[in-house]
């Protein structure tokens, strides 16, 4: 286990935990979505890293190249990115409507309005 050689994975872990932390700890609905995005981005990086082969190029047959990166995780993560964009868009749309209905996007204030006791 050599740390520096796997630094991409360390970044993945850092982003993953940071993202999750923001989702849990932040009371602002937009910030939560940002945290969710960071969390998802860490997974994108995980997939991209695992597909990369040292010194490999894009999998196109060309003279002089024999080492290729694995394209499959990269393609998969394209799909996941699209899903992530859709989720963010929907989340933001919901936040806009929550703001219209409650006049706030702070979780504490929303809870006060929902349960005024």
């Amino acid at each position: 286990m050599d740390g520096p050689g796997l630094y991409n994975y360390w970044i993945v872990m850092f982003l993953m935990l940071a993202g999750l932390y923001i989702v849990v700890a932040s009371g602002n609905l937009i910030k939560k979505l940002v945290g969710l995005n960071v969390f998802q981005a860490s997974v994108f990086l995980l997939y991209i890293t695992m597909g990369k082969v040292d010194g490999g190029t894009a999998p196109i047959i060309a003279e002089g190249t024999t080492v290729y990166s694995n394209p499959l995780p990269h393609v998969l993560i394209l799909t996941a990115i699209v899903v992530g964009v859709a989720t963010t868009a929907l989340g933001l749309a919901l936040v806009v409507r929550i703001n219209e209905a409650y006049g706030s996007i702070e979780e504490e204030e929303l809870e006060e309005q929902e349960d005024p006791s």
């Binding site: 989702v23 969710l36 997974v43 997939y47 929907l90 919901l94 409650y102």
Partner: protein, 497 residues
Amino acid sequence: MILANLPALQIVLPLLAAPLCVLFRREAISYAISLVTSWLSLAVAIALLQSVLASGPISYHFGGWAPPWGIEYRVDEVNAFVLLIVTAIGAVVISYAAPSVAKEVAQPRRYLFYTSYLLCLAGLLGVTITGDAFNVFVFLEISSLSSYILISLGQDRRALTAAYRYLIFGTIGATFYLIGVGLLYQVTGTLNIADLAQRIDPLIGNRTVRVAFVFVVVGVAMKAALFPLHIWLPSAYAYAPSVVTAFLAATATKVSIYVLLRIFLTVFGPEFAFDAYQLGYILMPFAIAAMFVGSAVAIFQLDIKRMLAYSSVAQIGYMVLGISLATSLGVTAGILHLFNHALIKGALFLAMGCVFYRIGSVQLADLAGIGKRMPWTMGAFVAGGLSLIGVPGTVGFISKWYLILAALEKGWWWIAVLILLSSLLAIIYVWRVVEVAYFKEAPEGGVKDDDGKGEAPLVMLVPTWALIVANVYFGLDTRVSVGTALQAAQSLMGAGG
């Protein structure tokens, strides 16, 4: 030609019908499209189940690419059964939907409601039918994204926050699943479920596989609302439009449970999940806690939809309990309850939808005297409630009977006692509704949005009663449900690993 492409049609039909609804932008046309598509999907599911029962699993290769390279749709006894449940509930619910949606969803959004419904159906069916682990993620997100929309269409503004909360939870769950699948791919180099199952076998001690297992299971358990990851569920069910609640309660969590079954028993295999990791002992406490906490909290709810939602948490506990017994009979009980609970909860939520249609509320206090005014609706609710409790002659009884049999087979009589005790809790919360509805006088002047009429329209009553009849029918004649569940459980327990 059509027969050979049935597995693809199952997904393609609703997936193509959804954009059609957007193109027409008319409520009536979108409804007609949804109705026809739902019933066609049911026909496809029935044909698939018959073909599977007659001649074994179907493997469908997309674009002619052979697995494990291409994407494979694989239909066996287990998911053919789940497909049937999802499409049947979809068909019944959509037949019921028109008046209820007209009442609860604002006019300009109604065609979008039907679009989202079709997408949700396509997503759930896709999760069920696909034989590719990454494909499961994509379809899971299709169904989840559309169900967030469906929930946010509720009238109450709390529907928005409920949908938002579900979005956060659902996305974390799905991303966990994605991480798990990524790790599995890293170790095995494949995404095809059947291929994965073979390659994981020699890797029992591998740490990456173990971590992947945890990520996948936690991710899907969030979607399945397995206690204690159920927090998103009660609000989402309580504030969503009635039709959505009935549809999601009867299908979405069931499909997640199915995915759990697949992961445990097909991908990792019984030896891996139950023997090497003692998964049964990890799941069982949660399942039992769900049974009691869900039912106990349900007793104190004032909103009946929320009460039924908590009861769903408890019922998911029963399903997982069956699975956690780790025997063929236990898994049979789990799958059986998956089917039966879809019938029970579908019927109960539809009955509540009828009540909401007339009096504009499902608060317990507002239901006073409703039994006299809407005898058929409340009759359906009582029948569904009896089934929920597990009275003989209903499907609820069959589920609990098999669960108890499975527990006794292992010699764990205390589990059987716990099942009976938690059923007693169900009697309490069902009785609370019955008491208010039948033994209290209707209040003067009625509720705010009361339209003063008697029974709900026939369009809504007939589907509700269709589910109740199914409750009784499958409670008396268990050949189809038990037979299929048994076969499904055997193929899962035998084929895995």
